[in-house]
């Protein structure tokens, strides 16, 4: 099976007032179809930046300097080089084929629109044809069963609508509705699309286990709790059944018991929708709970990638080992990693972890190690291997 | 210290702010060295009263003796604008100084303590703000008798409420920060918290407004003097000089610009002075905002 995402030699740099920050350096990573890949790292590791780079949302003053991100579009059966796409094509992918869930649900939702409106927006943007098709069908049934004087008066109106929705259902972006949406009085002709989107919204809210979805859809974000908001954001991300769902620390701001509910939800989504998930987190426990494979990053570089059991039971990279030792567990002595996190502006030469590494070799200071496959499915970037 | 150095460097880099600084420095130079630039003639008692060369009412154009000409009543314009710089700084700095102190004290008390103190102070500022500022200033000057001192008092009374409000708002915001609570946690008294922690963090927007306002105060004082409600006749004050030129703005029927020097020269001094402070204030605001955003 083809890999869903293939990142090769990705470099993202930030041109700041104080200097150039190498946020991501020489990254090679694959996301397979149907898997949940976790990226684990601390501040400055580049994990969030990787997620943003896939969607080409790297904020100023950052730039994707070089590299390639190849996305295999299952529906089209084609590979796309994401970094070379036009912005218009990229926008068609965001929210549709690849979607993202951010850390702060309160910040990701617009406070002046209801939840339902915001989720419907996704359908209106990406699924116009399907909405047009459904609207056409509805008008069709109206034309068939509509009887009586009132219905008779409306019939020509409905026929006109029918033609309009037929057009939307067939072409991707026909001229008529675009014109009509600009003219104030005629905009209401397109309200049926919005109604169809609302129905789909209620369905997707049910999928993310929000109780009483019709009522919740009419609420504003500030009326919901953190966990519900995050579910709403996940619903927005899942609306168009994306092939890749990117989650950037989605449970970090939630309480532990709510986080447990969220992780259950993610597990169910994995099974039901069959999407791949890129799960960025700094919490090793969460990664162990939900990921199939885990990638560990440090200071913008990939240290180790392996299946979840492999990496927790047999960590190979010294940083991975040190990180696991530093997690407080009952009955275990807390091991610290000496030194401080690599300075983003002036990272150590060669391997970025070498000043803090207990098993550093002299060559670690000169050159960095390339990612090597040490055992089946287990890749490490370290001179020790 | 690197904080200040960075600020100074940014001030100097921006051409507009550099222009503002240069203008203010030139004016300061003029004000300090006024006795050397326009020496007071022998026997003249009060250096702030412009020396007269005769008693004719018609202004005379610039000549060798009077570099900028003379205005109605034969007051030397050159002397007037040079010493007027001193008056301008005097008025601007004193008024802003008092207004800042009053505004900061009342505003911090209102913002930090809230409750009844806040309500009382805010209602008082409401009362003052209910009056149109220039009208209130004119009324105060008229009641106290026209003089530069009454102008300063009037402008102080009219300007302090906005500062109290501004500081109060910023203190309200800073009050919720963790480090304020931490200072109380280590046992700091309210006084110490306000002076040492809250104010230094809240004061920058107020300082920006103050530097912009120095120009505005001087302009208002000039306006009052122009209307005759300011400095006494013959006093070395820019507004006063323009007041003299009131009858001569339009000039004679044949040559409307005949007496241009009487109103334009003091006017230009006012203009550049105010512009200098405005540029400086704008520059302050620009360097403070991105710095706060970057942090």
């Amino acid at each position: 099976m083809k890999d869903l995402i293939r990142i090769r030699d990705l470099a993202v740099r930030f041109y700041t007032y104080e200097g150039i920050v190498h946020a991501i350096d020489d990254l090679d990573l694959d996301i397979r179809q149907g898997e949940t890949l976790g990226i684990v790292g601390e501040t400055g590791s580049g994990k969030s930046m990787t997620a943003l780079a896939i969607l080409r949302l790297v904020p100023y003053p950052g730039r994707i300097e070089s590299g390639s991100i190849v996305f295999f579009d299952k529906a089209l059966g084609r590979e796309l080089e994401l970094l070379k796409l036009r912005e218009g094509r990229m926008r068609a992918i965001r929210g549709n084929k690849i979607s993202m869930v951010f850390q702060e649900p309160g910040a990701a939702l617009n406070p002046v629109f209801t939840i339902g409106d915001q989720i419907s927006e996704v359908y209106l943007l990406h699924r116009r044809q399907e909405l047009g098709h459904r609207a056409k069908q509805r008008v069709d049934s109206l034309l068939k069963d509509g009887t009586g004087l009132a219905a008779g008066m409306r019939k020509p109106f409905w026929r006109w609508q029918h033609r309009l929705y037929n057009k939307i259902a067939q072409e991707s972006n026909p001229v008529e509705p675009r014109l009509l949406s600009r003219l104030p009085l005629f905009r209401r002709l397109l309200w049926r699309l919005r109604d169809e989107a609302n129905l789909l919204t209620v369905d997707i809210l049910k999928d993310v286990e929000i109780p009483d979805p019709a009522r919740v859809a009419a609420h504003y974000p500030h009326e919901l709790s953190g966990g519900m908001k995050q579910r709403a954001v996940i619903a927005m991300a899942l609306a168009c059944s994306p092939e890749l769902l990117i989650a950037d620390e989605p449970t970090t701001s939630l309480d532990v018991t709510i986080q447990a509910q969220m992780l259950e939800l993610f597990r169910r989504i994995k099974v039901d929708k069959g999407a791949s998930v890129l799960f960025v987190t700094h919490n090793l426990g969460v990664a162990a709970e939900i990921c199939d494979r885990v990638a560990v990053m440090y200071a913008g570089r990939l240290c180790e990638v392996a299946g979840v059991e492999e990496i927790f039971l047999h960590p190979l990279h010294p940083y991975t080992k040190a990180l696991l030792d530093a997690v407080p567990m009952p009955g275990k002595e807390l091991q610290t990693i000496p030194g401080v996190l690599a300075d983003a502006l002036n990272p150590p030469p060669g391997c970025r972890f070498h000043p803090r590494c207990p098993s550093a070799l002299p060559m670690c200071q000169q050159e960095r190690a390339k990612l090597k496959e040490v055992s089946k499915n287990h890749m490490v970037a370290c001179h020790l291997f | 210290m690197s904080d200040w150095k960075l600020m100074v460097r940014q001030l100097v880099k921006n051409p507009l702010s550099l222009a503002g600084i240069i203008i203010i420095v030139i004016f300061a130079f003029i004000a300090i060295f006024a006795p050397l630039i326009a020496p007071t003639p022998e026997g003249h008692r009060d250096p702030y009263m412009i020396p007269r060369d005769g008693y004719s009412a018609t202004p005379r154009p610039p000549s060798e003796e009077h570099i900028f000409g003379t205005t109605e009543g034969q007051y030397d314009i050159f002397y007037g604008v040079i010493w007027g710089t001193r008056s301008a700084f005097h008025v601007g700095l004193v008024v802003i100084g008092i207004v800042l102190v009053t505004g900061i004290v009342l505003g911090s008390l209102a913002g930090y303590f809230g409750g009844l103190v806040d309500e009382i102070i805010m209602r008082i500022t409401d009362i003052f703000l209910a009056f149109p500022p220039l009208i209130l200033a004119m009324a105060i000057v008229a009641a106290m008798g026209p003089s530069l001192k009454s102008v300063m008092i009037a402008l102080t009374v009219v300007s302090w409420p906005s500062y109290a409000r501004l500081i109060r708002g910023d203190i309200l915001q800073v009050r919720e920060e963790d480090y304020i609570e931490a200072s109380r946690g280590i046992g700091a008294s309210n006084f110490r918290v306000i002076i040492r922690h809250a104010l230094p963090n809240a004061i920058y927007p107020t300082l920006v407004m103050a530097s912009l306002d120095i120009g505005a105060i001087v302009l208002a004082a000039a306006a009052l003097s122009f209307l005759g409600l300011g400095a006494p006749e013959g006093y070395a004050d820019w507004g006063q000089l323009t007041s003299f030129a009131r009858n001569w703005i339009v000039g004679s029927s044949t040559n409307p610009l005949k007496y241009w020097f009487a109103v334009t020269i003091p006017g230009l001094f006012i203009l550049f002075f105010v512009m200098g402070w405005n540029l400086l204030g704008d520059a302050f605001r620009d360097i403070l905002d991105p710095r706060l955003a970057r942090r």
């Binding site: 601390e42 501040t43 709790s225 953190g226 519900m228 309480d255 532990v256 018991t257 709510i258 986080q259 447990a260 509910q261 992780l263 259950e264 700094h282 919490n283 090793l284 426990g285 969460v286 990664a287 162990a288 709970e289 979840v308 059991e309 927790f312 039971l313 040190a322 990180l323 696991l324 530093a326 997690v327 407080p328 567990m329 009952p330 009955g331 275990k332 807390l334 091991q335 610290t336 990693i337 401080v340 996190l341 | 210290m1 904080d3 920060e177 963790d178 480090y179 609570e181 931490a182 200072s183 946690g185 280590i186 046992g187 700091a188 008294s189 110490r192 922690h197 230094p200 963090n201 942090r295």
Partner: protein, 348 residues
């Protein structure tokens, strides 16, 4: 009983103002009757999720907030406490009672006594990025407590600052710098150095590592361990992460919606919790062990708002063992084992 800090039936309510006249229309019961004792030299962990009142409790214990009810006894001999309880049970508001309370109950201390208290107890905030004055230099931040309490000044204070910085692992050469030039972990160290300045006996930590990375967190926790041993400190440690509490604390109290629901030793709470909430908390905590995944008890529903707590046992809407009794009566905190207390009618 050598309790350094003895909290009895502590309450902290916040009024909700509403309407045009801004009258109180309700109360947010952030802390609703908490009784805890921290022994001298103990590291007590207070665990709970957001909205349970742990931060409010932390701030009330150090008198940054004024308690609405209850008593806080700091280093008060047992006889005095007994006397106060007796006088209170008699019901009368005698002068003797008021004066005793003024002398001994931190909740009713006048300002001057609170200042004295501040030399002996300190609070370290959660967010190191906002708890230091950005316009103060490092040396001034750490020296400020010394200056306020007039302990030291001038050269002596400078030496003390250097020593404090060394204790927390910072070099004296950075004394002239500003907070924004330091990393999160370093800033938290600065906050800790500031807390140690007046040589306190008791330090309250409000989630000090939640804003920090895993490796930095480990460093700070080890630092706290060393400091406690070196200076004989007593800690009240607030956290929402059960793993941290289990790993470093001597004793744990679990809070839910303003009340303590279970108290006990870490091993017992982690391996044999008796309150249904503690059990789901333990089950919901992810550990970096891929094998420990099955059999998780996922707690339904949301945490109710502290402005409108459910009647009876506040946990009953989400509890699988709730009975009619739970819906009407509040379960008291009762012993169920050796130094193990639970507030539940049907403990596990």
């Amino acid at each position: 009983m050598n309790a350094l800090v003895d909290i009895r039936r502590l309450k902290k309510y916040f009024p909700i103002v509403g309407g045009v006249l801004r009258r109180p229309v309700g109360m947010v019961k952030a802390v609703d009757g908490v009784s805890l004792a921290v022994k001298r030299g103990q590291w007590l962990g207070l665990v709970g999720e957001s909205g349970c009142g742990k931060t409010t409790l932390a701030k009330t214990v150090v008198r940054l907030l004024r308690p609405t009810g209850g008593h806080i006894y700091f280093d008060v001999p047992d006889e005095v406490k007994v006397e106060i309880e007796e006088l209170e049970s008699l019901g009368k508001n005698s002068d003797k009672l008021t004066s005793l309370l003024k002398e001994n109950d931190l909740a009713t201390f006048p300002g001057s006594r609170v200042r004295l208290f501040r030399r002996r107890a300190q609070l370290v905030h959660q967010d190191p990025f906002t708890s230091l004055d950005p316009r103060m230099k490092l040396k001034d931040i750490v020296a400020e407590p010394l200056r306020i309490h007039r302990v030291l000044s001038g050269e002596a204070s400078k030496t003390a600052v250097k020593e404090l910085l060394g204790t927390v692992g910072l070099s004296a050469g950075q004394m002239e710098r500003y907070p924004h030039q330091f990393s999160g972990g370093q800033r938290q160290r600065i906050a800790i150095a500031r807390a140690l300045a007046t040589k306190p006996e008791f330090i309250v930590f409000d989630e000090p590592t939640s804003a920090l990375d895993v490796s930095v967190q480990a460093q700070i926790l080890n630092l706290l361990k060393d400091l406690k041993k070196e200076f004989g400190l007593t800690y009240l440690y607030i956290t929402h992460e059960l793993l941290i509490a289990e790993s470093v604390c001597d004793y744990i109290a679990v809070m839910y919606l303003g009340k303590v629901v279970e108290m006990g030793r870490p091993e017992e709470i982690f391996h044999a919790p008796r309150h249904p909430y503690s059990q789901s908390l333990v089950a919901a905590t992810p550990v970096p062990d891929p094998k420990r995944r099955v059999g998780r008890i996922v707690l339904p529903g949301e945490v109710p708002s502290p402005a409108n707590p459910p009647p009876g046992c506040t946990f009953h809407p989400r509890c699988s063992r709730a009975s009619d009794e739970c819906r009407e009566l509040e379960p008291p905190l009762e012993p169920v084992g050796d130094d193990h207390y639970v507030a539940c009618f049907h403990p596990l």
